[in-house]
């Protein structure tokens, strides 16, 4: 693969990482909950899509809206039924419970669908590409995924900034007690926030399922990539997260180009570590850490 080609692939991949990352930071931002099950919850949508296309034989693209609704419901129920109990108990309880949840989801998927890799078949679009010149070709599918990711991040930003619900999210994030006094039902808001976070990541989850294969144990990698994108970009800024995702995607594909595919993830980690060491507030973060 050519350097330029690797670079383009990296940027396109980065959009997807950013999409996973905004879900993670939305949850962290609104309720200070570090969701270690986040990665597994990005794998789950692909399996839900797999079930749907098993029943109704249509293109998995059309399954995305249905999966989004299902993931919203799962997120809402999960938050109200389980996670709301630990939101106010501090970081430790949140980490332990979501880690436990991660184990439960990964092993349930393995129990239900075996550990084998699965794929979603979207037909010919998977192989179409735009040939710019003899050395550079951009696949339609990665490009569509990237555009969808950017649009989703933008819409999420509008939702947070312009809607009543988005204002409630920010109010709860800034001062929980004051928000409650203003008549905001924090338990409901947290549940909606989790629902929205999972709704957003499910787009990426299904698209990634179409683009490559997936298996139940991919969750930890997804969580780590999402986290790295958040920290590289800087916390609390969704465009920063997009930049973080792109930097991570570039690091991975260029690293793989330079040293071989075994080094792909490692080079991403190294870039993350460098950013954390040299610019802990992230590329676009404010100097004061939260």
């Amino acid at each position: 693969m050519d350097w330029l080609n690797a670079g383009v692939q990296g940027i396109l991949l980065g959009g997807l990482y950013a999409l996973f990352a905004v879900g993670l930071s939305l949850v962290f931002g609104t309720m200070r909950l570090t969701n270690l099950a986040h990665g597994d919850l990005t794998i789950l949508p692909a399996y839900i899509a797999l079930i749907i296309v098993g029943f109704i034989p249509f293109n998995p693209f059309y399954a995305i809206p249905i999966v989004m609704v299902i993931m919203f419901i799962i997120g809402y129920a999960l938050q109200r039924g389980v996670l709301n109990f630990v939101v106010q108990s501090g970081d430790v309880a949140g980490v332990i419970v979501t880690f436990g949840l991660s184990i439960v989801i990964a092993n349930s998927l393995q129990q239900g669908f075996t550990a084998n890799s699965q794929g979603l078949d979207a037909g010919t679009v998977e192989n179409l590409s735009i040939t710019l010149n003899d050395r550079l070709a951009i696949g339609w599918l990665p490009l569509i995924i990237f555009i969808m990711a950017v649009v989703a991040i933008g819409l999420l930003g509008l939702f947070m900034g312009r809607t009543k619900m988005g204002r409630a999210f920010r109010a709860v994030s800034d001062d929980q007690e004051a928000a409650r006094l203003m008549g905001i039902n924090t338990k409901h808001i947290w549940a909606v926030a989790m629902g929205v976070a999972l709704l957003v990541v499910s787009i990426g989850g299904v698209m990634m399922g179409i683009r490559t294969t997936f298996h139940p144990l991919l969750g930890s990698d997804r969580l780590i990539f999402a986290f790295e994108a958040v920290i590289i970009g800087g916390m609390g800024s969704s465009w920063g997260t997009l930049l973080g995702g792109i930097v991570l995607g570039l690091a991975q594909t260029l690293g793989a180009r330079a040293f071989g595919s075994a080094w792909q993830i490692l080079v991403g980690h190294v870039v993350f570590i460098l950013i954390l060491a040299l610019r802990p507030q992230g590329l676009m973060g404010k100097a004061v850490t939260a």
Binding site: L36, V97, G100, S220, I273
Partner: protein, 358 residues
């Protein structure tokens, strides 16, 4: 307020702060006998029993160290597998490449763990709360990928510990056992002594309220760093012991996050923030594993569900429940205020007690 007032009112009454009670000397005696029995076990126990106890004590050591970090220093690590893996590979390096006796190489592995812990701490301590946890995971994954990408260590398929394979079973199994017992005992003793010391007070103050602790002059960063380094060294020692025990080391297994899953389960079930909790947790975990691990994924699902349920509805764990019922702690760590005489029966609260500061 009321205690201060009573002390003033009673005037000459003496009070003292005690830690251990008479029962604790009995406990100490029983503990000493148990320890002697455990040390002597390879001489009368079967090889398979000794092997099983190696598993038990390595898990116990890891759980105690994880508990020291989490329960006392408030550090949530899900990346201790990084140190376990580094310990395993350092052992291979020193025993097979440098020709040092594997049982001595364990010490070098511990030092290796401590050395890695220093820069790792400098990095992950920049992250707050739960993000620190994912940070430790990234460090562990980075270490795994580095090791897996080095050809000399056998890459992803791992490598055999020659020096350990050449040992006779009669030497290896008891040796590994004593190391495992030793590290577990050291982990418990270190935690106990650390908590009884000045640093321990700082750790407990930090756990209870880090802002208040810091404003009382506790150096949070340094205290956390010490804890992280001790845990890193201990986990690396365990990794080395496990490598001798299994004769083989493989990146995917040595650096597996499953280690952390076990530690979380053990500590949460037993009781976070107590020395006894992980002991009880390890026993429960061990029994559960021996009886239900054949169910594979269902076993892991059950572990996850149990950890969630206990954290939400009974965060003090099994030991917390025992303490609540009996009021007795095996390791005396709580300081109890004792008033020597009680001539004046009811505590008197003087409303205008001059100079009473609360």
């Amino acid at each position: 307020m009321s205690t201060t007032a009573t002390a003033t009112a009673a005037g000459g009454r003496r009070h003292s702060v005690s830690v251990a009670s008479r029962t604790h000397f009995i406990v100490l005696g029983v503990g000493a006998v148990l320890l002697v029995l455990l040390i002597a076990l390879p001489f009368f126990g079967s090889t398979s029993l000794t092997r099983r106890l190696v598993d038990f004590f390595t898990l116990l050591a890891l759980a105690e160290l994880w508990n020291l970090m989490l329960g006392y220093a408030g550090l949530i690590s899900v990346g201790q597998q990084g140190f376990i893996g580094i310990g395993s590979y350092t052992l291979w390096l020193f025993s097979d490449k440098f020709g040092i006796n594997p049982f001595i190489a364990v010490i070098f592995a511990a030092i290796g763990g401590a050395i890695i812990a220093l820069p790792a701490a400098a990095l992950v301590f920049r992250l707050r709360g739960g993000y620190l946890a994912i940070g430790t995971w990234v460090i562990a994954d980075t270490l795994r990928l580095i090791v897996a990408n080095i050809k000399q260590t056998g890459g992803g398929s791992g490598i055999t510990i020659q020096a350990a394979s050449e040992m006779s079973t009669g030497t290896r199994v008891p040796g590994v056992y004593w190391w495992a017992l030793g590290v577990a005992t050291m982990a418990i003793a270190t935690t106990y002594l650390l908590l009884r010391s000045r640093t321990g007070l700082a750790l407990k103050a930090m756990r209870d309220n880090d802002l208040a602790a810091e404003s009382s002059g506790v150096n949070l960063w340094r205290t956390k760093l010490y804890t992280y380094i001790i845990a890193g060294a201990g986990c690396a020692a365990v990794g080395a012991i496990v490598a001798i025990h299994l004769l083989r080391v493989q990146p995917a297994a040595a650096f597996s996050v499953t280690w952390t899953a076990y530690l979380i389960f053990i500590t949460v079930i037993g009781g976070i923030g107590t020395i006894e909790g992980p002991i009880i947790g390890t026993i429960i975990f061990y029994v559960l594993r021996e009886t239900t691990s054949k169910y594979g994924t269902w076993y892991f699902i059950a572990l996850g569900v149990l950890a969630i349920i206990v954290t939400i509805w009974s965060p003090a764990g099994v030991y917390g429940w025992i303490v609540k019922k009996t009021g007795f702690m095996v390791f005396p760590l709580q300081r109890k205020l004792q008033i020597a005489e009680s001539k004046v029966a009811p505590p008197q609260i003087t409303p205008s007690g001059g100079g009473v500061a609360s």
